[in-house]
């Protein structure tokens, strides 16, 4: 296999595994575990295959073009650092997969857990291997999303939901900041390629946007890595199942932030701002985290705060940024992952076997679980930095950097003191973990009788602890080459080789370590009792909870603030909202008018045609009349509205738009019928509306009249200005006119635009039409008309009324005879559409009118006894045909909805256009027909249902809810 394939497989494999795992049955615990473990193993194998190239300093790359015009490619690059990190992720992932198989309860849906774990692994590998910073952000947000689902795995528990939500808000919010930072960096470097950005360090640091970019970048990294003041999401995330915590909070999720810091330190670092922000935050987190950890009573809470403090240590190293510091940071990333994963697993075993994680209740477990106890003690010693264990070496390197590296600032001078203080605290909390859980008198009131766990639940812990020991004794021989490879990938190929050794002689770091151990032991034994008896947090400090501040902020931003803003700016009433919208439109129109008025007018506007002016005198009168009568005389208003529509239609015909005229005329017919049918359900307004003549109502009408006149005159002025100015150069329309016949195979350009050039728009539009049709149908199914209009209309109830069939006799015969004629007319409109005015829209509406006339001429039962109309099927078929035509072009290797046109010669008939656009147009036709009919028939059916709802003569009323 080639390198690009390997790299792509590495990232895609976990996602594929996640899909398969999600499809497994709920009870398939073993299969899901095998699948997850197998996927992780396969990933490790892929990494192994890549190693020779990566060792030689040649990153493995893969590029799949995605949106090349935006410079956005799915580009992967795996260098030494990514390789080491990915190995860590997959290795710990494999152990977690084994561990979770035995940890999870029989009642839990285990395949879901594995599916999410695999998806998370894929996202994490994506972050590590992304070669394009935008892709990196995409994967970054995917890790937030996957961890949200993982933390909320037991979604029945409020704590889990809460923790998941907080972590999502904090980390995904940070991700947005990171996106902005990456866009800024891409802007500065001129490319979103990771290599280009890393190589343009000097340009970035000199750029005026360096400050904002750095701030946003750091917010992204700090939220993910739980740095102060964003650390509060991590302890809340402990509501997750322990395998998830072991994975997320040792090797992956939180490490993504420090990965980013280390990765970008050569490009963004080496400035005073970077040092103060990154090292300052890191040191604050280190000290605060270890202090709070000492006071937690919950095992996982202690480990969570310890994780925070170790992340602070790595952050501080990244802030220092010297070659040694970067190497130490990478080393500590690995070491922390190994010992923290084993500790989380050990805590999980204790929880699993005893039923509690409260250190005040646990005691003397060494006697009952000696093997687990020994393992936990070694791992905790590594966490405390005891010599001959891996944690000791990287911590020594940190102390050495704190002492030896200088830039002459106060923060630099104080680094050794803070580092020692954190060391003291970490020794103390590690001791607390060991002593209170494993030593002392046997615990009395545990929920379960503890014993050693099943063998395979312990195996992962054993392996990890063995690693702690081996790396701790032989650091140079085991991890040395890999660490140097990773450091070179970050810092550049000319970085010297660092040999890592356990013994450096008697020097300051060793003295600091010994001092920390002595003081830490003293501290713990002096205060063990008051700490266990005290509240869950350091004295005084536990009152200030970042979480509470966050909750209050969230409440203000997401609830109180919007409510206050709504009360201030909005109204639940429709009219004020509409007034605001119209006023906004007027305000937006003003500057356009102002600018347009200054373009010089051409000399001669066209002469006014008297007929046209007369036509619009009538049209305008109709419009004003409709406006005046719509309140008390709805029917008259409807007739006048139709008059305006007809004049509009004539205007289209006048100014060379036959297609528009045809469509407008047909739609006008349908709209009028529709509104007429609707009027049936609005009771006649007999009395005047109370308060209509009061002063308040008059004032409102006068105000609205002013607004309306302002809007109308503004629009009139705008259209006059635009119409009398010459167009600025050739328009898009010119291109369509030139190419309609050659490329679209039709002579009617408007139709060719609709079904060929812009067919995608039309496709979207008919989809909207289908949705509206279905909504109307669904609304009317549940609709109950107003009580007073449920009865027959007054005209039909009058004693002089004649039966409907008599009244409608002549029209209904004509309408029946016109039915076939209208069908032929619709076919004619459809077939000529590509070359002459007509087309699918017009034909569809025409055929709908043909059906509609039958409904008007007879009653619904008569029509439906003789005609079967299935509007929903017409709509579905239309959408499928239109979509299918689009998909069909894929078969020939063209993009969606590419049309093909040619003329075929049929015997007798001659040349006939045979464009695929015609098939698409047929889809449009079918859908328009179906949707129009569906709406009209649904309204027409209301009278049937109302008829059923009222009791027949001489019958008892139907039981309630019976219809």
């Amino acid at each position: 296999m080639t390198e690009p394939t390997l790299a792509l497989l590495l990232v895609l494999l976990p996602f594929a595994g996640a899909l398969v795992a999600a499809a497994l049955p709920v009870a398939a615990r073993g299969a899901a575990a095998w699948l997850a473990g197998g996927t992780m193993l396969a990933g490790l194998g892929l990494l192994g295959a890549m190693l020779p190239g990566v060792m030689a300093g040649e990153p493995a790359r893969a590029v799949v073009p995605w949106v090349p015009s935006l410079g956005l490619d799915l580009s992967l690059r795996i260098d030494g650092f990514s390789w080491l990190f990915a190995t860590l992720v997959l290795g710990i992932g494999l152990l977690v997969a084994v561990y979770a198989r035995y940890y999870m309860d029989r009642a839990d849906p285990v395949p879901r857990l594995y599916a999410l774990l695999l998806a998370f692994t894929g996202a994490m590998l994506g972050v590590l291997t992304a070669g394009n910073v935008l892709i990196l952000v995409v994967f970054w947000e995917l890790t937030s999303l996957a961890s949200f689902l993982l933390i909320g795995y037991w979604h029945g528990s409020p704590a889990a939901r809460d923790g998941a939500r907080v972590s999502l808000i904090v980390t995904a919010g940070g991700g947005l900041c990171l996106l902005l930072a990456m866009l800024l960096l891409g802007h500065i470097a001129g490319s979103h390629d990771l290599d280009r950005i890393l190589a343009s360090g000097p340009a970035i640091r000199a750029h005026p946007l360096y400050g904002p970019a750095l701030t946003l970048f750091l917010i992204g990294a700090f939220t993910k890595s739980a740095q102060v003041p964003f650390h509060f999401w991590l302890p809340n995330a402990m509501a997750a199942p322990t395998p998830v915590s072991a994975f997320l909070h040792s090797a992956t999720m939180v490490k993504a932030g420090v990965y980013l810091l280390v990765r970008f330190s050569p490009a963004l670092g080496e400035t005073q701002a970077w040092f103060f922000l990154v090292t300052g935050t890191g040191m604050a987190t280190l000290v605060l985290g270890s202090l709070i950890a000492l006071f937690r009573h919950d095992l996982k809470g202690l480990l969570a705060y310890s994780t925070i403090s170790h992340l602070g240590l790595i952050t501080a190293l990244a802030g220092i940024g010297s070659d040694g510091a970067i190497l130490a940071a990478i080393f500590h990333i690995c070491n922390h992952a190994v010992f923290k994963a084993s500790l989380f697993m050990a805590a999980g075993i204790i929880d699993h076997e005893t039923g509690t994680r409260d250190m005040r209740r646990l005691s003397g477990l060494m006697r009952l679980m000696p093997v687990t106890g020994t393992l936990a003690i070694v791992a905790a010693a590594a966490m405390a930095g005891v010599p001959l264990l891996n944690g000791f070496i990287s911590k020594e390197m940190f102390f050495a950097e704190a002492v030896d590296w200088h830039n002459g600032t106060w923060l630099d001078d104080s680094l050794p003191y803070f580092a020692t203080l954190a060391g003291v605290l970490s020794v103390a909390y590690s001791l607390r973990f060991i002593v209170s859980v494993f030593f002392g008198p046997p615990a009395q009131d545990l929920p379960r009788q503890p014993h050693e766990p099943v063998r395979w639940m312990r195996r992962p812990v054993e392996l990890l602890v063995l690693l702690c020991l081996v790396v701790g004794v032989l650091p140079g021989a085991t991890l040395g080459p890999a660490l140097n490879m990773a450091a070179r990938a970050v810092l550049g190929p000319e970085t010297p080789y660092y040999s890592i050794a356990v013994w450096h002689g008697w020097n300051a770091p060793l003295a600091m370590s010994l001092l920390a151990m002595a003081l830490g032991t003293l501290l713990f034994f002096a205060f063990a009792r008051p700490i266990a008896a005290g509240p869950e947090g350091p004295p005084l400090l536990h009152r200030i909870q970042a979480r509470r501040v966050f909750d209050r902020l969230l409440l203000g931003l997401a609830w109180d603030g919007p409510r206050a803003a709504r009360a201030l700016l909005s109204s639940s009433r429709l009219q004020p909202q509409l007034v605001l919208i119209v006023l906004l439109a007027i305000v937006a129109m003003a500057p356009i008018l102002w600018a347009a008025a200054r373009v010089a007018a051409p000399a001669d506007p066209a002469r006014v045609n008297a007929g046209f002016a007369l036509m619009w005198t009538a049209g305008g009168a109709c419009a004003v009349g409709a406006a005046l009568l719509a309140k008390y005389h709805r029917f008259a208003a409807l007739v006048l509205l139709g008059g305006t529509g007809l004049v509009t239609c004539l205007t289209f015909a006048w100014f060379s738009a036959p297609d528009l005229a045809v469509t407008q005329l047909l739609v006008e017919v349908v709209t009028t019928v529709l509104l007429l049918l609707g009027l049936r359900w609005l009771p006649r307004r007999l009395a005047e509306i109370p308060g209509d003549r009061l002063r308040a109502a008059r004032v409102r009408r006068a105000r609205d009249l002013v607004i309306a006149v302002a809007f109308g005159s503004g629009l009139a002025a705008t259209s006059f200005l635009v119409m009398t100015r010459p167009p600025g150069g050739p328009t898009v329309g010119d291109w369509f006119l030139r190419n309609a016949y050659e490329e679209g195979g039709g002579t009617n350009v408007v139709n060719v635009i609709l079904v060929d050039f812009r067919a995608f728009d039309t496709f979207g539009e008919i989809t909207v039409l289908a949705i509206v049709g279905l909504s109307v149908f669904a609304l009317l199914r549940r609709f109950r008309p107003a009580a007073e209009s449920a009865d027959r209309p007054a005209e039909q109830l009058a004693p002089t009324a004649r039966p409907l069939a008599d009244t409608m006799l002549v029209p209904s015969v004509i309408m029946r005879w016109m039915f076939p004629v209208t069908i032929v007319f619709a076919a004619y409109l459809f077939l000529r559409g590509h070359d002459l005015p007509g087309g699918g829209f017009a034909a569809g509406v025409t055929l709908a009118i043909a059906f509609l006339l039958q409904y008007l001429g007879h009653d619904v039962r008569w029509v439906e006894g003789r005609l079967t109309v299935l509007p929903v099927r017409w709509m579905g078929a239309g959408l499928l045909i239109a979509g299918g035509t689009g998909v069909g072009s894929w078969l020939f290797g063209y993009p969606f909805l590419t049309a093909h046109a040619q003329y075929v010669t049929l015997p007798l008939i001659g040349q006939v256009p045979a464009a695929t656009a015609l098939i698409f147009d047929f889809g449009v036709f079918a859908l328009v027909l179906g949707a129009t009919l569906l709406m009209l028939v649904a309204i027409a059916h209301q009278s049937l249902r109302a008829g059923r709802a009222r009791p027949r003569d001489g019958e008892a009323p139907p039981p309630p809810g019976g219809t």
Partner: protein, 114 residues
């Protein structure tokens, strides 16, 4: 001609907006219809007015774009007419349903408190 059409657009828009701000739902429907006529004519007129020059091409050969009406606004308006019909239908049904549910044809579903 331009002046007449502009005045017509303005008149339709003014009537439409006035009705849009009225409290009865039928008034609002009629207002939206009038406003959509105005807007359709406005968009249509953006391509310039030409008489007797529909955008029907000869089959092949040289095409002089200046001799034909601009097809783009026409295509846009054609879509707008159909969508306008659909929204009118939807609004009408909502109006009928709300009349049945609330017992009033006020747009807010309840009469304005005096």
């Amino acid at each position: 001609m331009e002046a007449v059409l502009s005045a017509a657009i303005g008149l339709l828009a003014a009537s439409g907006v006035w009705l849009l701000l009225r409290p009865r739902s039928f008034q609002v429907i009629v207002g939206l219809c009038l406003l959509s006529y105005a807007v359709n004519l406005f968009i249509f007129s953006m391509g310039g007015l030409s008489v007797g020059a529909p955008a029907i091409m000869p089959r092949g050969g040289f095409v002089n774009p200046d001799a034909y009406a601009d097809p783009v606004p026409q295509a846009l308006v054609l879509t707008a007419i159909v969508i306008g019909f659909a929204t009118t239908a939807l609004f009408l049904v909502v109006m009928i349903a709300s009349r049945g549910l609330t017992g009033t044809d006020h747009v807010d579903g309840r009469e304005r408190s005096p």
